[in-house]
Symmetry: D2
Subunit: 332 residues, 4 copies
């Protein structure tokens, strides 16, 4: 009755997922785990009471006690692992990105269609965040009218090690691409990227303006050295009002002339509830087969395609169109 | 490896606990459930994938697949069930109140001491609410100095059916008694209760002023027909600052001349995270034996004793002392 | 066309009023000023471009260029000066209290009635504070239903020099008495005062519970060494909702893990707009004769009477009735 | 001692200024007023106790009782009137824009330099708004580090009558241009303007991205039919934190499941304090000669020049450079 999950990757992300699965989600357990660092895999396995570790992801996928797979290994390994899951007929929750390569994304999309069943979910966990869920529900309620503009802010306290303009887009802004598509129910049609002059390789911020098919403007601040905390906000401006997602610390402190609330220190602090709900919904899906509302392989492809257009727009210093394949009915 | 929980009572409270256990807590499952209404028990059992139902609480406790018990039956049945759990040597999480009767509470306290192991936890879930946890952590951090006053607000949108002054105290204000004791780390020494004149049996609100051993003043608004929502707040005023728990909706709406956030509709909406964390911590305790920080049998006794003093104070129209037995070292 | 105002007292309060009159109010000017400290009077006169200083308050009142008088001298001198204004037929805005003495207040009330014209306004400036004005308007709008409870918080960062329990009441809490009467449109009928045990002369806080004629409960926290700032709040709880006055700094800062806004440093910072609006309304009244909505001599008397009952209640350690003379029709 | 102000224009803007001068500013009075609609001028004159009206602006400027002039007539008349004030040697506070024409702005700049005295102030009242003042002070304090990005939001509830893309820029966004220059202490170097496709003449919103000399990105949402209210916000993102200006209603209401505060209905409601402080500072300047910090003729020119570049960028659909004359030392 409890479903066995195989976790591929025991780094920060994988370990977090495994821990959440073992403590804060019912109806499932970690059946196996692997990592390039075998000791790390063993340590996490003990912590989450997983009965076994494997040498690599393919072994996890092949394990008969593994009914579904969670991929949290390095980005470039995702596509191969997801394709293997499809081949094995096992549902897979793959951390973003589905793949950094557009052809690889399309290969997954094709394979899943050939299989005829939706087994792939991409870990755009914001779709389960109470704030973004509230934005979408607020728009759907209709009282505020149609969407007009979407302002997005994505701030990290600091960037660990080297990070170039491309990574600002593919690792940070990409979450905004997915959430904009999901909130607005529209594809992104064009992108313009503004970078501060003279930053060179030390680029720590970008400002992006996306245009959707139907003319909604989406602007995105990406700022990776904001210092004060991890802060992700959004405001959806509609015809008759606006809805915003903002930090919501329930504890207010008055001290030393200020009234204050906490800002999250990092993404785990900020999106903890989103990660828990994503996994809880996914496990419900594993039990019942009912869709979770999570991102599909198609959504993973679209996010990668928008990211690629933004990288081009940054390099070229001008507005670039986003060119997407026609969306198959399978994904509607 | 997954611990079997027996749930006694499948009403709103029990069903909620069972659902949380089955979906949002790892490492445990509902092994059995019972309710005076057998059909209701069966329905909840199906929903939470519990393998079996029982005719009564004693049968749940006796079930060999039940390693720990969750009591969510009517208040007057609590003491007998908790005593049976102690006799069976099974950990029990008992919904508030431990018992409405002071002697019954003391009997449990005595039985648990005789057993020599702490098996009883009372379901004062607020101790796991992120807001109250933040208040306690803020006080413990020391920067704000010693506690001076605690303002508590307890509002319900409406009261279903008949509710008298006593119930305002024993069913609503009692949560404030426990949280005040827990936040301040002090016992309540005296109580004064103000009621609006002429309300008679239609009493829907009270204002209580408690004094702790060390002279901290605690005031409590209980208002059961506040109409606009379920709203529980607290402000802890310290020597050098204050810390407050307040609603924290992450979604802000601008519409029709107002900027607004949602207030919870009911206690489940408001304290959902607290209930989940209480159960998660309790299951961790069942696995590891490490204390959860939840309320003990002694805390259950103290809450009932403060409630009794408040009922007297309301009836007598004057300040009443709270008389507590000396606290056994077992509970320190 | 510009009305000459005589200002009695050039201390912090008087100097502030004079400065506000000269800079932020139209249609009036400071015609004369006096102070026990003649040098201070001269300094303020220069700053506000007042043409002359006088040796004492009686000379200010007698000055033919003075059409109206602002009394900001020590409390015990208020009554005599206000009576002199009435005798001279000159409108007077007297800083709180009208008089610390109940008989003196009643003498003023009698004199004003005998004169047959309302010339006295007491400087309960909160009646002009946008926050409290909003509370009153919110109640009057009717949508929230009748008032049920009023929670008041009155915090000072620190107390300069000696301050006893009586002064906590007469100098701090008295503003809450007036605002409660004004917001609720009801007289205070009884008072209970809670003081922390063992504080003796070092008393820096009190908690008061007032009951109005119609059974509304008003609780007041007075805390004079709150440290973090000057903070005055209120929440008016009604049958179908609540309205609160809270600090409203338009500037929000994110820094060092916190999102924060400023709390006022002192009463000038906090109530600056209220003082400006009080004077502006008073000058409009001087020009047009239209009532300002400010506190009358009767209101000054009532505030002093409630304060006296609270001082008794504190000393006696029990609930005290507030005994007011019947309100003359002249003041309705 | 009270300074006579001549007000040119008695429309909404001029009447408001005249009223503020007569009620909420000390040390000055309205000495004369004119309007194309003589009856309207007479009505406002009565309301603000102005002794006389004139047939036109030139007569107001020539009036010997008029020591300083406030220009609130239609935009295209501003330059001529300001030049006449300079010729008469009278200080002038001119409503925005100084002139819609760049050459006219430069003519004023030249005339003022030739005179050798700074007599012209442009009515960019936001420089006196407590929120923007707080942003500038926060940046100047240094703790947050250098400015990185500035997000601006400018929403009107509705647009009265016809409004084209140019007017969105010259009448609405222009206030953002000035405040950005003032907050950042940098000139705008380039502009890109995004308009929703297919809006044609019904254009009610724009999104602008400005780049300053030193590489700060400024984005501006202009949305003239936001429906819910008048809402102007800004967030200044710095190296180590951010500072935002947001609505700050001191009255919070809980009702019908929502906790809410008011959003301003219109610009008077929103910027009332800014207008009062602008006039109060200007009158202080008239008395003392000390600079107010208000916008100079140069600032008026720069705002018009940025607006012109934005109009070009909108028409051309691409990034445009802003070309400014070199700034004369006279204006530094």
């Amino acid at each position: 009755m409890s479903i066995g999950i195989g976790v591929i990757g025991a780094g920060v992300m994988g370990a977090d997922h495994a821990l959440t699965l073992s403590r804060a989600v019912g109806g499932a357990h970690v059946a196996a785990i692997c990592d390039a660092d075998a000791e790390r895999a063993a340590r996490v396995a003990r912590e989450v009471r997983a009965p076994r570790t494997h040498a690599d992801g393919m072994a996890v996928i092949a394990d008969p006690d593994v009914a579904a797979v969670l991929v949290a290994s390095p980005d470039h390994t995702h596509a191969e692992l997801v394709l293997a899951c499809l081949k094995a007929g096992k549902p897979v929750l793959c951390e973003n990105p589905l793949s950094p390569s557009i052809p690889a994304c399309l290969e997954i999309v094709a394979a899943e269609q050939a299989l005829g069943r939706r087994l792939v979910q991409v870990g755009f966990m914001r779709r389960f965040d109470p704030g973004y869920v509230g934005l979408r529900a607020g728009l759907a309620a209709g009282r505020l009218g149609a969407a007009r503009m979407l302002h997005c802010v994505h701030r990290n306290a600091s960037i660990p090690g080297f990070f170039d303009g491309g990574m600002l887009i593919s690792n940070a802004a990409v979450h905004e691409f997915d959430i904009a598509r999901w909130l607005l129910g529209q594809e992104i049609a064009a992108a313009t990227v503004f970078a501060p002059p003279g930053a060179g390789d030390m680029l720590d911020r970008l400002f992006l303006v996306l245009e959707t098919q139907d003319g909604v403007l989406v602007d995105i601040e990406v700022f990776m050295t904001a210092g004060y905390g991890y802060d992700v906000r959004a405001e959806l401006v509609c015809a008759h009002g606006s809805i915003a997602r903002r930090p919501a610390d329930p504890v207010r402190v008055c001290h030393d002339g200020r009234e204050s609330t906490a800002v999250a220190a990092d993404w785990r602090d900020h999106f903890g509830a989103a990660y828990q709900r994503q996994l809880q919904a996914w496990v419900q899906f594993l039990h019942t087969g009912q869709p979770t509302g999570g991102a599909s392989a198609w959504d993973g492809y679209a996010a990668t395609a928008v990211a690629a257009a933004c990288v081009s727009a940054l390099a070229a210093g001008r507005r670039e169109d986003v060119r997407l394949e026609p969306r198959p009915a399978f994904y509607s």
